[in-house]
């Protein structure tokens, strides 16, 4: 244990995802030794992200205004919505430059064992977006693992009465992984070869 403020910092860093106690200690001592200007930039970035960034009221993606950049862009096709689990998946798909439609960020995947059911995700918001008939294709780009597949199955069944074209990314994506780790070429190919879901 260290003196109060240093230990405080280690504790706070240790609560971040993927940061164990050892890494927390290493980062804390790095910050202690760092140039005050560098630490000031980091502090500012942290403060700004909480002050300025919120979630798009339409799609749930991170946004600096009420709506995100993609929802505000009139060149993006409003007839196609790509459903993803997290905002970082939007970033991964945007990198492929394959997709010109819009997104819907669920905020996770259905995981009964973790207590996450359909009502805990932004599924009601998705249904509202589909209600006026503008959207004709729904691309289900949840993670290519079990929970992502189950979420896609649930959504496909839910929207079945709406007679949309419902597609799932091609299985060029090796199952078991997280979408964010797919490289651009693989993900791009998965988009081109997406298959029709029929449940």
């Amino acid at each position: 244990m260290y003196e109060g403020v240093v230990q405080n910092l280690i504790d706070e860093l240790g609560r971040l995802p993927g940061v164990g106690p050892k890494s927390a200690q290493r980062i804390a001592f790095h910050l202690l030794a760092a140039d005050p200007a560098d630490v000031e930039r980091l502090t500012k970035a942290l403060r700004e992200v909480k002050d300025k960034v919120r979630f798009c009221r339409t799609c749930g993606n991170v946004a600096e205004e009420d709506e995100c950049r993609i929802c505000r862009d009139p060149r993006r096709d409003p007839a196609v919505i790509c459903v993803v689990e997290e905002s970082k998946d939007v970033v991964a798909i945007e990198k492929t430059r394959e997709f010109r439609g819009r997104y819907h960020v669920l905020g996770g995947a259905i995981s009964p064992i973790e207590g996450v059911g359909p009502e805990d995700l932004r599924i009601r918001e998705l249904m509202q977006r589909l209600a006026d008939g503008t959207v004709t294709e729904l691309i289900l780009a949840t993670d290519p693992n079990l929970e992502g597949e189950a979420t896609a199955t649930y959504l496909a069944r839910l929207v079945k009465p709406m007679h949309l074209k419902v597609t799932r990314l091609a299985s060029g994506l090796p199952v078991g992984g997280d979408l964010e780790y797919a490289d651009e070429v693989t993900l791009g190919r998965a988009f081109e070869g997406r298959r029709l879901l029929d449940v």
Binding site: P112, I113, G115, E149, T153, L173, P174, G176, L179, Y181
Partner: protein, 261 residues
């Protein structure tokens, strides 16, 4: 402190119960194995889409594993799929949610890590196989599994005789805390009063009489599910979280309120 000469490799087959994210791209995988019982182990790089493990460490997979024994969390070094039960389940939401409740129950009923639990392993394997076959209502498969796994854990409900007096006649009630059916004379206030075919269905599920179970009526199945769920939650301190998400039809009609203690 033990030195590294003590570490060793071991092999076992198991069913993946649950995975949790660990650090950047790894996972902690919980497996119910045939010989060793329940094991929590780390799998490196498994979340990368190019991982050599692929889908072999996804929940529901019956898998042959090699572990590297370590002081804290053992490491999974090899995995070969025996049967990927997740594939047929994931395209059918009611079956998927029933299966998830089975996995969570198996984890909760094997409280001690690395304590052999062969009967729980065999029950789960059989349950998943039946669920994946698709020949029976997933709700019946789940309830049969729950009743049997509770029995293996030492909490078999009495279903063909009164838990209080042993009478086999006029079984009118189901008393969760007392551990099963009760006759009209022994019935306590607050005990559930299911329809007689519901108790018969529960008994058929416990014994594996599928012919009887498949012929049951929806309302008795619903009532049976309600009683089994209440019985399970009573015995497992922290309950089964995924049970709430299992897709079921109408809720049971009878009250399942129970006298405390």
């Amino acid at each position: 402190m033990r030195d590294n000469a003590g570490v060793s490799l071991y092999r076992d087959e198991g069913i993946v119960l649950r995975t949790q994210k660990l650090g950047e791209a790894d996972r902690i995988v919980t497996v119910l194995t045939r010989r060793t019982g329940r094991i929590r182990a780390a799998a490196k790089g498994v979340r990368k889409t190019k991982s050599r493990f692929g889908a072999r460490l996804e929940p529901f997979t019956h898998v042959d594993l090699q572990f590297y024994e370590r002081r804290s969390l053992d490491l999974i070094t090899q995995a070969e799929t025996l049967r990927p039960y997740g594939e047929p389940l994931v395209t059918d939401y009611p079956r998927y949610t029933a299966g998830t409740a089975m996995l969570e129950t198996a984890e909760k009923l094997t409280a001690e890590e690395k304590e052999p639990a062969l009967r729980q392993f065999l029950l789960l394997l059989g349950g998943l196989r039946t669920l994946a076959d698709g020949a029976h209502d997933p709700r019946l498969v789940l309830d049969a599994y729950l009743l049997r796994s509770l029995s293996v854990a030492g909490w078999a409900p009495a279903l063909d005789e009164c838990v209080a007096c042993g009478s086999r006649n006029r079984l009118r009630a189901f008393a969760i805390a007392a551990g099963g059916a009760m006759c009209g004379n022994c019935r306590r206030p607050g005990a559930a009063t299911p329809a007689p075919p519901t108790l018969e269905l529960m008994l058929a599920l416990l014994r594996g009489d599928w012919e009887h179970a498949d012929g049951s009526q929806p309302r008795h199945r619903a009532e049976c599910s309600g009683l089994v769920a209440a019985y399970l939650q009573w015995h497992l301190e922290h309950g089964i979280r995924s049970l709430r998400h299992v897709e079921r039809e109408a809720a049971p009609i009878t009250t399942i309120d129970e006298e405390p203690g």
